[in-house]
Structures are given as structure tokens and as C-alpha cells.
């Protein structure tokens, strides 16, 4: 087992290397760079850009050097924990991301909890009451959440929250609490705003989870061991909890790999529509304006979390389900 973990960790290094090359290449693919984007935007509103100043900035940030050199510079920086510099904010990337990370985590955490709370009971219910009215009804509601585009749902929620409850539009707190340290009043304001993104983002995930749980559970419920257990008189609740439910949870453990990065990235589109101060809009804006170190470093951070997440879920699966073999070749 230890050997397996060690090997898995070693494999992460080339994976991350390839990812970093890909990220850097893709970000550099569009013609031009951040400074040209900036000049275009300024001119679009009538402002003049000082071209000699732009040249100066380009040189300052190494844009006169070949991409390979810039790549090397960026990656070695990352290894030292220096995520680079954001041109748009004119601040180190770390300072910008750091501020938004906490809120993103709060939103994502509540969303995951929400998804679980809704999806688990429904999934179990619809598996044990297959083809009943309850099964159809609840699955239908779950599917609605998946089918309606998130941004549309977000707009509808925004409108009604504002008209009915007077919740301020967009953001995670009322404007007067922005830039203020956390207080009870601010926390209440966060809660007041939080339910909208949580429900919207959670709605999509819920349907998927219901379906997976229902399908896996149905498989298990037809197996011999369960039928035998029931036949021997084990009460239905206990029988369910003790065996088939556990078996049906494999997918859930392997999902953990995706949870880590999604906790820090949040749901980008919803966050933009709702104007949340999370990392999602930051990343998209950085990609649009070719603010390359901000975008690149953040994507790298997410890749790193994904790799770690997959590792954790692999280990957890191996522990949970002894039937999973660590090495295909070892046991023939």
C-alpha cells in the first residue's frame, strides 16, 4: 500500500509538468498580450494609451523574451511559491486570490452540503420505491434543476429575491458590509445572500447524484446477499444501511477527487451572473484580458488540487473496498 501511494505521488510530477506546459501554451495561443488588450479597451472609451509606456511595461514583464524563457521563469516561480504578478490588478497574484478564496470556500462548502442533504434521501427513496409516484416526482424535480440553465435560474432568483425580500442584487453581502471585518451583522447578511447561489449551483449537482445513487443502489438491491439478508429477517432499514448502501457509495468516494478543485474555483458562470466575490469571475476575467500569470497560476493551483483530490479518492477507495486491486499485474 505504501509503495502504491509513493508511486502515485511520483506520477503526479510529470502530470503537473504536462499540465503546466498545456496551460501556458493555451493562454499564449491568442495573438497579442494583456497590454494590447488594455490599449484596445482604453481607446474604446476615448482614452489615450501612451505607447512608449506600453513598450516599457512589456519589457518590464519580459514580453520581449521568447515564450520558452517566460515559461521557465513562470514555472520556477511557482516552485518557489511565487504565483507571479497580475497586470490588471497590478498586484501579486497571491494577494488577489487569497482574498476571494475564503468566500469561495464558504459558498462551495454549503453547496456540497446542500447537494448531499437533498440528493441522498431522494436517491435512496427512489431506489427503494422504484417506479412509484414518489420516484418519478422527485427525480423529475431533480432533473429540472439539471435542465434549466444556471444563469437563467440565477437571474430569476435575483429578481424575485430583490422584489420579494429586498435582498440587494448580486454579491454575497449587502454593499455596506464590503471591506468590513466579519461581524455578526455581516455574517447574517452573508447568510441572506448565500442561499441563492447554493440552491442554483446545488440544483444541477443534485440530479446527477440522485441518478447515480439510485442506479448503483438498484444494482445492489437485486443481488443475492441482500435478498438473503432480507429473507433471514433483517429489518429493511438496517439491511439497506449495512450492505447495499455502502457498496453503492463507491462513486461518491471517487467524486471526492473533483470536490477539492471545485471548492476553490466555485461555479464560474453563476458567480458571474450573481456578481459573487469568488474566484470564478476573477479567473474568467483574467483569461479574457490575457492577464496570463493570474490565469495561469490559478489554473495550475486548480490542477494541483485535482491531482491531490484524485490521490485521496484512490486511497480512500482502496481502503473502503478491498475488491479494488492496487496493481492489475500483481494478481492474475
Amino acid at each position: 500500500m505504501l509503495k502504491y501511494i509513493f508511486k502515485r505521488i511520483l506520477v503526479m510530477i510529470p502530470t503537473l509538468f504536462v499540465t503546466s506546459v498545456l496551460i501556458f501554451t493555451v493562454i499564449n495561443l491568442p495573438e497579442g498580450d494583456y497590454f494590447e488588450t488594455m490599449v484596445a479597451e482604453m481607446q474604446a472609451q476615448g482614452e489615450k494609451a501612451d505607447m512608449s509606456r506600453v513598450e516599457f511595461l512589456k519589457k518590464e514583464y519580459g514580453f520581449d523574451k521568447p515564450p520558452a524563457e517566460r515559461y521557465f521563469w513562470w514555472v520556477t516561480g511557482l516552485l518557489r511559491g511565487d504565483m507571479g504578478y497580475s497586470f490588471e490588478y497590478q498586484l501579486p497574484v497571491r494577494d488577489i486570490v487569497g482574498d476571494r478564496l475564503l468566500l469561495t470556500m464558504v459558498v462551495s462548502f454549503f453547496t456540497i452540503i446542500f447537494t448531499w442533504i437533498v440528493a441522498f434521501p431522494i436517491g435512496i427513496y427512489s431506489a427503494t420505491h422504484q417506479y412509484s409516484w414518489g420516484d418519478y416526482g422527485l427525480t423529475f424535480i431533480g432533473m429540472l434543476g439539471l435542465a434549466i440553465p444556471h444563469f437563467l435560474l440565477a437571474l430569476i432568483f435575483l429578481y424575485f429575491a430583490n422584489v420579494w425580500f429586498g435582498t440587494s442584487i448580486g454579491g454575497l453581502v449587502d454593499p455596506q458590509y464590503l471591506n468590513q471585518p466579519m461581524s455578526w451583522a455581516k455574517f447574517k447578511s452573508v447568510l441572506e445572500h448565500l442561499w441563492i447561489p447554493v440552491i442554483i449551483i446545488g440544483a444541477g449537482g443534485t440530479a446527477g447524484m440522485i441518478r447515480k445513487l439510485r442506479a448503483n443502489l438498484l444494482d445492489e438491491l437485486q443481488k443475492q446477499y441482500y435478498v438473503t439478508a432480507r429473507a433471514k429477517g433483517l429489518p429493511p432499514g438496517k439491511a439497506l444501511r449495512k450492505y447495499p448502501l455502502r457498496m453503492a457509495l463507491n462513486f461518491f468516494i471517487s467524486d471526492i477527487g473533483d470536490i477539492l478543485p471545485s471548492i476553490v474555483s466555485g461555479a464560474e458562470i453563476v458567480a458571474i451572473v450573481l456578481s459573487l466575490q469568488t474566484t470564478g469571475p476573477l479567473l474568467i476575467r483574467a483569461l479574457q484580458s490575457q492577464d496570463m500569470y493570474l490565469a495561469g497560476s490559478f489554473l495550475m493551483f486548480l490542477s494541483f488540487l485535482t491531482v491531490i483530490g484524485v490521490l485521496i479518492s484512490d486511497i480512500a477507495l482502496a481502503i473502503l473496498d478491498p475488491r479494488i486491486r492496487l496493481q492489475g499485474t500483481a494478481t492474475k
Binding site: R53, Y89, L91, L158, G170, P175, V273
Partner: protein, 637 residues
């Protein structure tokens, strides 16, 4: 809740009246109650000691407005952190400013003199202070000129263009602590307009504050320490980061503007508070600005119309478009605001830009033929466009000066603007495009159809709607167009590379022109001019990049522009402007469609003094700037 606090401030305000010794018509000075506690505690000198000896007197009543009271918070919404520069623009405090007749008047300066167009003597107000209380003197000008503009590290390209005439910098002299002189060998008509611009040329910096970041003044160890803690490369980056005046991101940087930023980046909400040393007062002796605090809340720009409609802004125009008007007007009934419509001041809200530098030789030659451009203009039914898209509220006009400008000429604005299909067809036949195919589309001699794509930056559907109407007009004269919207960067690059045959964009950014303003928009001077980007690039790069203009009229425009840069008198400049406007109108280098379209302005019901009718433009109006937001105030309840 906000209103309650406002009225509290007003309630306690009246008591704070300090006596003042003889000053032009103003007997007493009135300080803002927001500062009263600080003054009483000794944290701030009384108002009489904070103002310059001769503050700038703004006669609010004479402007047709009501003199106001202090207090309140003005809320605005912005789409991006970089938008905090809007406060520098809205505040519109400059050494010299454009007054309501578009003439240059001293603002921060007490007075200025210009001799023979080349010797500029600037006089500061005695006792004028930066927002931290340090005196504003000639030293601040010297610091900028010697230690910033002429410093190799901070300005590797040398002093800015407006400080050079024929490549030669000025001679800078300090006559005394409050008097400065800039002398050029030849006239420099760009200097004062650059200083008065919405995006101004700063020729003074708070030296007492910035010296701590400058290699020449700061102690070596201290500087090292600061470079390290700010995590920048060297002292140059450090100085650059902490000295931004246009985008006031550094809350510690002293300013002369009406409000100063108190929030450091990154932030979602910026609070600007009144500058206790601001140099303007009203006729009652009240120090301006009236409003104590301005907040900018940053959110996604797409949500700003919705947030405005929810009553989240007291003054808002940015990110609102004419298409939001009905929605805002509907919400105004529910919420506490009004929606006014100001006129936008572009030469054309939408203009066709035939690319005279297109790569394809057939199209390029056709675009360069004035008869072709005239035919296009004569084919457009501008009245329909105005009625369909703008409810008939815009003005059908070429891309030229607005009626509010002293250089307006009604004949030029209407030249080639009245639809005349017969004449348009005749012109196209004359060029030799008389053959048509089965679809009635004209054919080039080589058999290609007169069919092309018109590109837009895709900022709004308004542009594509207009182009859809124009499409019908052009089919009537045998030309087929395909409107296509892309993304701003791609759009710009394609045009510069000559891949775009024609584009749709706004006309002159500033059509509120006066003879003293630089006529650079009328001649090929910048690659951002989509009708002749490569000629513009040629001019801007001094001949290193781009192409030299080949057609006579474009060359003439460059010559005229150059002679304006060396002009001495107002008459001379006026004449050059008129000639340039005339050439542009006759040659139709840009084909204007409509101008003076409307800009919705959302104003809280309690906010006073915002004009009902205004002109909304970046240059020279500085958006709200020319209407002095420091004279806006909240009426208490």
C-alpha cells in the same frame, strides 16, 4: 438608514461657522460637519487655515443651480476595479479646466499667461495644500519634471509628447515658490489642453510623499525594505506603483481632487472621502464638495442596470445604455430615483469606416475612391435608422462637430447625408461598376460581386441592428453587405492587418471641439483610426511602421495637423480646424450615420444640481466632470 444619517449630519451642521477675514464677497466660511469633530479635537486645522489664501469661488446660483449643504454619501456602481479612475475624471480638478464655453480657465492655478504660444507662466494659489496638509508648491512641479519625466528609469522614453515640440523639450524655470515657467523654442498648443484633459497630463506630483520611493532621495536601506515588502522588482516599480494619480489606488498618495480614496486594493467597494484641503468654495463660503463621501461598489458590469434599477446608485451613467431606458424608467416609479437623458457627444454614434489600408487591392482602390464613399453615404436612409433604433431622438448627421461646438457648420454636417439613390447609382456606374448579376448585385470588371463583410466589435446589438437596416439600403444600389460582430481585440487586429474591408464603429470621440483642442482625430495620426489604421501607425511611429499616406487629401490633413501643432494664434487654429472639418466632410473618410444619441442618467431623487440636459462625453466633458459633481448635494428629509 442612509437618509437618516444624512439628515443627522445636516442637523448638526449649521453651528459650525468660522469667521474669516476679508475675502472677495464671502464673509464667513462654513466647514463640513463631517470634519467638525476632528477640527474640535485638534486633528485638523480650522477651515480658514486649510483653504488657499484665494480659494476658487464657484458661484453656484449664477450657474442656475441651488447652493447646497454639506453631507451625505453618493453611491455609484462600477464594473471593474480599474474604474476607480472615474473618480479622477468625475472630480475634474486640473491645473486648468475647460469652462462652460469650452475655453481654458485656471482651476488649481490662480492664473496663467501664455506669450507667443510658447512661454507659459503658471501661478499657484498661496497656501494651497495637498489632501494631507502639505503645501502644494513649485517643488512638486520640479520633482515631476526633473525626477520623473527626465529620469531614465521612470520615463525610459523621455518626457511625454505634449512636453516636446519638434522633439525638443521645454526649459523649466521656477520663478519663485509659486510661479513656474515652461518655455519652448516654438509654439506648443498641445500643452494646456493636455493638462486640462479628462485623462490629464500630470506635471506635478506630491514630492514630499513620493521622495521616499525615489532612488535619489530615499535612504538605500529603507528603499530596499520597501521594495521587499511591496514585492516589486526595483525602486522604479515601487515608485510607479505608489504614484498613480489617474487611477488612485494608493490611499496614502496625497491628492488635490475633491474626494480622496481611502480603500486599498483589492476591494469590492471603494470609499472616497472629502479632501479637507479642497480649493473651491461656494458663494456662501461653504467648502466644496458638498457631498462628504462617495462609494464605488464593484460588481459585474452586466448587472449594473439591474442594480441601478434596484436603487443601489445615487448617480449612475456608466454601463447604462439607451436600451436600458424603458426598464429604468419603469423601476424609477418604484424606487427613489429619476432617469434623465443626456446627449452623447461623439461625432457619430455609429459610422462606417471604409478601410483605406485593406490588403485586397481591388477593395482598397474602391475604398479610396471618394465617389464610392459618397455613393454609400447617399444610399443610407438615416431617418429610418433614427426612428427604428432611437425613436427619432438622435440626429441624422455626418461625423463632424456637434451644434454645441463653436466650430459647428450645419452645411458640413448635412453634406452627402440626404438619401439620393439615383445619384448613388450614377456615381457607382461612373466608377465602372455598372454590370450586374442575376441578383442585381454589381460586379467588378473581373467578375467578382460587390459583396463584403462589415465588422463590428460586438459590444451591443444596436450596431448590428443598424447594419441590418443599412443592408437593405445598400441592396437597392446593388451592393451586398454581411454584418458580422466579433470581439474587440480580434476586431482591432484584423483592421490593422488590412483583413477588414469595412468596419462599424463610433466616430470622433469628441465632437464638442474647439479651436484650442488637438485636431488629431481628423488626420491619420493613430492606428486606432479604423479608416486608415496603417497611415495612422506610420504617423505615430514616426515612419518606422505602417505606410505613408498616398492620397492627396490625407497628406493634406497630416500637413494641416502639423501646422496646428506649430500654430500661435486662436484664429490660425480655428482656420486649420475648419479646413480639416471641411475636407473630412467632403471626403467622407468616415461615413457617419447618426449622432447625439441619448445616454440615460440615473439620479437619486434627493440629489440636487445635476443638470437635466447635459452632454455626456469623455473628452472634453469628463462625463460628469464639467458639470462639477462637487456642487451636487443631497436634500435632507
Amino acid at each position: 438608514m442612509r437618509i437618516a444619517r444624512r439628515s443627522f449630519l445636516l442637523g448638526t451642521g449649521a453651528a459650525l461657522v468660522a469667521p474669516r477675514l476679508g475675502f472677495a464677497g464671502v464673509e464667513t466660511l462654513i466647514d463640513s460637519p463631517a470634519l467638525a469633530a476632528k477640527v474640535a479635537a485638534g486633528g485638523l486645522p480650522p477651515l480658514s487655515e486649510r483653504l488657499p489664501k484665494s480659494p476658487r469661488l464657484i458661484e453656484v446660483a449664477a450657474m442656475g443651480r441651488a447652493p447646497g449643504r454639506h453631507g451625505g454619501t453618493m453611491r455609484m456602481l462600477m464594473g471593474d476595479q480599474r474604474d476607480i479612475r472615474m473618480m479622477t475624471i468625475y472630480g475634474y480638478t486640473r491645473l486648468v479646466v475647460y469652462d462652460d464655453k469650452l475655453e481654458l480657465a485656471p482651476d488649481l492655478l490662480e492664473s496663467f499667461e501664455v506669450e507667443r504660444g510658447r512661454v507659459f507662466t503658471l501661478r499657484l494659489r498661496a497656501g494651497h495644500r495637498w489632501s494631507d496638509g502639505h503645501p502644494f508648491t513649485a517643488e512638486d512641479f520640479r520633482y515631476w519634471w526633473e525626477d520623473v519625466a527626465n529620469n531614465k528609469r521612470l520615463s525610459p522614453g523621455g518626457p511625454p509628447q505634449a512636453m516636446l515640440i519638434s522633439g525638443q523639450p521645454c526649459r523649466f524655470e521656477i520663478l519663485d515658490e509659486l510661479t513656474l515657467r515652461y518655455t519652448w523654442a516654438e509654439p506648443n498648443p498641445v500643452f494646456l489642453p493636455a493638462v486640462a484633459g479628462a485623462q490629464p497630463l500630470y506635471i506635478a506630483m506630491p514630492a514630499h510623499y513620493l521622495k521616499q520611493f525615489h532612488q535619489r532621495y530615499a535612504g538605500k536601506e529603507e528603499l530596499e525594505q520597501k521594495i521587499k515588502s511591496a514585492r516589486v522588482k526595483d525602486w522604479g516599480s515601487l515608485h510607479e506603483r505608489f504614484s498613480r494619480q489617474y487611477r488612485p489606488e494608493n490611499p496614502d498618495l496625497p491628492t488635490l481632487d475633491p474626494w480622496r480614496n481611502t480603500t486599498s486594493i483589492p476591494a469590492e467597494r471603494f470609499t472616497f472621502v472629502r479632501n479637507p484641503y479642497f480649493h473651491r468654495i461656494d458663494e456662501n463660503g461653504r467648502q466644496l464638495p458638498y457631498v462628504d463621501e462617495v462609494t464605488l461598489t464593484i460588481g459585474s458590469s452586466a448587472l449594473i442596470p439591474a442594480k441601478t434599477a434596484a436603487g443601489d446608485a445615487d448617480l449612475q451613467a456608466r454601463y447604462l445604455r439607451f436600451e436600458d431606458y424603458t426598464f429604468l424608467k419603469g423601476a424609477a416609479k418604484r424606487m427613489n430615483f429619476e432617469v434623465k437623458l443626456w446627449k452623447r457627444a461623439e461625432g457619430a454614434s455609429f459610422a462606417l469606416m471604409p478601410n483605406l489600408n485593406a490588403i485586397d487591392p481591388t477593395w482598397r482602390d474602391l475604398n479610396r475612391d471618394v465617389r464610392y464613399r459618397r455613393a454609400l453615404s447617399l444610399a443610407i436612409n438615416r431617418r429610418d435608422i433614427n426612428r427604428v433604433i432611437y425613436f427619432g431622438l438622435a440626429k441624422e448627421s455626418g461625423n463632424t462637430a456637434l451644434p454645441e461646438s463653436p466650430l459647428y457648420d450645419a452645411a458640413l454636417a448635412q453634406l452627402n447625408m440626404t438619401p439620393d439613390l439615383a445619384e448613388a447609382n450614377r456615381l457607382l456606374d461612373e466608377i465602372g461598376l455598372s454590370k450586374r448579376d442575376g441578383e442585381k448585385i454589381r460586379l467588378f470588371p473581373d467578375g467578382r460581386r460587390l459583396e463584403f463583410t462589415i465588422e463590428t466589435a460586438g459590444a451591443s446589438t444596436e450596431e448590428t441592428d443598424i447594419l441590418d437596416l443599412i443592408k437593405q439600403d445598400f441592396i437597392a444600389i446593388g451592393i451586398k453587405i454581411h454584418p458580422r460582430s466579433s470581439q474587440l481585440d480580434v476586431f482591432r487586429r484584423r483592421i490593422l492587418a488590412g483583413q477588414t474591408i469595412m468596419s462599424g464603429w463610433t466616430g470622433m470621440d469628441n465632437a464638442l471641439v474647439a479651436a484650442e483642442m488637438e485636431p488629431d482625430a481628423l488626420a491619420p495620426t493613430s492606428p486606432a483610426q479604423f479608416n486608415w489604421p496603417r497611415w495612422g501607425q506610420y504617423f505615430e511611429s514616426g515612419g518606422r511602421e505602417g505606410e505613408e499616406p498616398t492620397i492627396q487629401e490625407a497628406k493634406e490633413l497630416v500637413e494641416l495637423y502639423r501646422s496646428w501643432r506649430h500654430s500661435t494664434t486662436h484664429e490660425e487654429r480655428r482656420e486649420i480646424w475648419q479646413t480639416m472639418l471641411k475636407i473630412n466632410a467632403e471626403q467622407l473618410f468616415t461615413i457617419g450615420v447618426v449622432n447625439a444619441t441619448l445616454q440615460p442618467i440615473v439620479i437619486a431623487k434627493a440629489l440636487r444640481n445635476v443638470p437635466d440636459n447635459g452632454l455626456y462625453s469623455f473628452e472634453p466633458g469628463a462625463f460628469f466632470g464639467r458639470y462639477m459633481p462637487d456642487t451636487f448635494w443631497f436634500e435632507g428629509k
